[in-house]
Homo-oligomer: 120 residues x 2
DNA sequence: ACGTCTATATCACTTAGTGATATATCTACT
DNA sequence: AGTAGATATATCACTAAGTGATATAGACGT
């Protein structure tokens, strides 16, 4: 059984594109800001391009909310400018809730034949 | 073959929640504003509640963009206050593009086991 | 040493969403 | 007929979020 999200977190749903793609990019490992920006362009099939202003203000907001955490660089000799981030437990729960919402919208649309069915 | 979206329309992706749910509500038939508000609450499993301010400003914006059209009431003796809307061709294309984006995000997440698989 | 890419950061501005409130109609009940 | 409550649209003042532009500087190849 999964814990329910607090009202506080639930009020963030639906996630804004910037918040969604930052959390989404971090789901497969810790990353620094610039890498998140690049992955986001790739993950969204170039449909969403996040500029630096959006990225860094979003990262700060997510830190304040406790949805992500900064991780002290463990690596030996990385680029000294980089700041690495990790998705926090609450951030993951929130991302899962958002994905469930998307999934249910897509399923409903599929019943109305607005989206091609699964092929994989 | 589907026509590509113009740059103008593509810049609206990802859709804001308000825009998405209005178009989504209209995909199964013409509706008036208040009905859209109610269906949205239902469609989103109460995860998104759109107040009147958001609804009516969004409807106006969508009319200006040509994504929806107002339909003159053909019915005989309906509630005279109601204004009915229909999704326009471009609005449907845009909604389909957004659903495809969501679908691809959900599929990617499923590979990472962040979303339960299909059961239906 | 130079140019380009990488990387983070902030400013001023625009756009979108929101709580509150207003106004009017419709419907059901007495 | 009166009226209470739900339905329906609309707008205001405010807040939150995103954005283009710009700044600054370290990394990397030639």
């Amino acid at each position: 059984m999964k814990p329910d999200l607090s009202d506080d977190l639930r009020s963030l749903l639906p996630l804004t594109p910037a918040v969604f793609y930052v959390l989404f990019a971090l789901m497969d490992g810790d990353k620094h800001g610039y890498a998140i920006m690049q992955q986001t362009t790739a993950h969204s099939d170039r449909k969403f391009r996040m500029g630096p202003a959006t990225l860094y203000t979003t990262l700060q907001r997510l830190l304040d909310l406790g949805l992500i955490e900064e991780v002290e660089r463990g690596r030996n000799s990385e680029d000294s400018r980089r700041r690495y981030y990790r998705i926090a437990r609450t951030g993951k729960l929130l991302l899962e809730a958002e994905l469930a919402r998307m999934d249910s919208a897509v399923r409903l649309a599929r019943k109305r034949k607005l989206v091609p069915g699964t092929t994989d």
